[in-house]
């Protein structure tokens, strides 16, 4: 084996084990919610997905800072994959949140819920990340501009949440408050394990994606070295770092 995806096996095993335990806890251990009943089980998948997605966006911004500081394009690749994976997790968070809203409140979408609304805004902003990259041909400029975007958008995440939360009443099921206490211990444990599972999944897929991208880049480089510039073929317009 080459160095691609070093440590990926251990991470994968840990992820699968944690998610299995989390699912078992969700369905066989955590008590039924007194008010919401069975439907509250969505909480254990929806909230971790959303939290991990938001953290992924912010991490993408931090990695972008490293890229601009060092000028090393590997940081751009990492930032790109962080945001790319966060977008996928975010879509999961939005859909599961929408399902929960439908079950609890009878509507697929609820504007009065600031967390849902700010999450949508963040998703709308980060959804422009790929079109922006795609629209810049020179790979170096692409990397640089994408990093600038990632930093600005990463800082936008917390600010946006403050603004939207203040704009609306607090409606979101505040199962997990900062002060804690409201969540019964068994539910808290289940939620913590679920969050850990989703975070590990994010880390695994992030590593996997990086390994795959690096392998492809290496392949291109080999083609160039072995067969000359022309053999490598024209670099297709791409949103991904190359």
């Amino acid at each position: 084996m080459t160095s691609y995806g070093r440590g990926l096996r251990g991470l994968s095993v840990a992820t699968i084990a944690t998610i299995t335990v989390a699912l078992a806890l969700v369905f066989f251990y955590a008590p039924l919610d007194a008010n919401q009943g069975f439907i509250q089980k969505i909480f254990y998948i929806h909230v971790p997905l959303a939290i991990v997605a938001l953290c992924g966006f912010v991490v993408g911004g931090l990695l972008a800072i490293a890229h601009l500081r060092t000028g090393d394009r590997k940081w751009d690749l990492r930032s790109y994959v962080a945001i790319h994976m966060a977008l996928i997790f975010g879509v999961g968070g939005l859909i599961t949140g929408s399902i929960w809203a439908k079950a609890s409140w009878g509507h697929w979408w609820v504007w009065s819920d600031p967390t849902l609304v700010s999450f949508l805004i963040v998703m709308l902003l980060f959804a422009t990340y790929q079109p922006l990259r795609f629209s810049i041909e020179d790979p170096e400029r692409q990397a640089r501009y994408a990093s600038v975007f990632a930093i600005v958008a990463g800082a936008f995440v917390p600010l946006n949440f403050i603004a939207v939360r203040m704009a609306q009443g607090v409606v979101h099921p505040r199962v997990l408050t900062l002060t804690g206490g409201r969540l019964p211990g068994s539910m808290g444990l289940t939620f913590a394990v679920s969050l850990l599972g989703i975070a590990l999944l994010y880390a695994t897929l992030w590593n996997y994606e990086i390994a795959a991208k690096r392998a492809r880049m290496q392949l291109r480089r080999l083609r160039r070295a072995a067969l000359g510039d022309d053999a490598a073929g024209a670099l297709g317009r791409s949103a991904a770092p190359s």
Binding site: D138, P139, D229, L235, S242
Partner: protein, 231 residues
Amino acid sequence: MVDQDQQPAIELRGLTRRFGERAALNNVTVQVPTGTTLAVLGRNGAGKSTLLRILATLLRPHGGEVSVLGERLPQRAHVVRSRVGLLGHEPLLYRDLSGRENLHYHAQLHCVAPERVERLIEAVGMGKRADDPVRALSRGMVQRLAVCRAVLHEPAVLLLDEPRANLDPAAVELIEPLIGSGNGHTRVLTSHDPGAAIEDADLVLGLRDGKAAFVRQPGEVGAQQLRELYG
């Protein structure tokens, strides 16, 4: 400050610059002594303009060492910027402003006294048309204004990309004192016309696909070398 008589004005060692995966300049090494002229020859896309843009601090080098007037690039770009003048394909003038307004704008950016703008406008024979918007001027007049812009801050190093393009002989005569070889500038020059460029030069660099094909004295550049470059 390093003594410039000792040190070459421009020193490139293994200069490399890539655009994406393509190397526009590949391991170019050349030294240009102070006060002399380097002519850069090569086909379109050979890397001539890239070389000039790197020396003008508009592009960063990706590999090798570049120093201009003893200052390393890109680290000391802010120092180099005030001492080099670039005359490129684009005049770098706003079409909707007059020549005078354009030059005063550049004078402000470069901390140059406004009187110098007026002197230069007179020197290139643009006194009568200096208040017309640039878009109304002929290519030759625009080029004359662009020359003024390039030498506005009295740079020690001149980077000239086809300086005589679009100029009739009379206009060439006018700009010659500003950018010609007789006034002590260190110059890097490219030209469509290899013959004229070689005549003007103290040293000739031939570029082919971003690599230095040769660095020779003008007298040693014969038909065979030119065939190598353009053939």
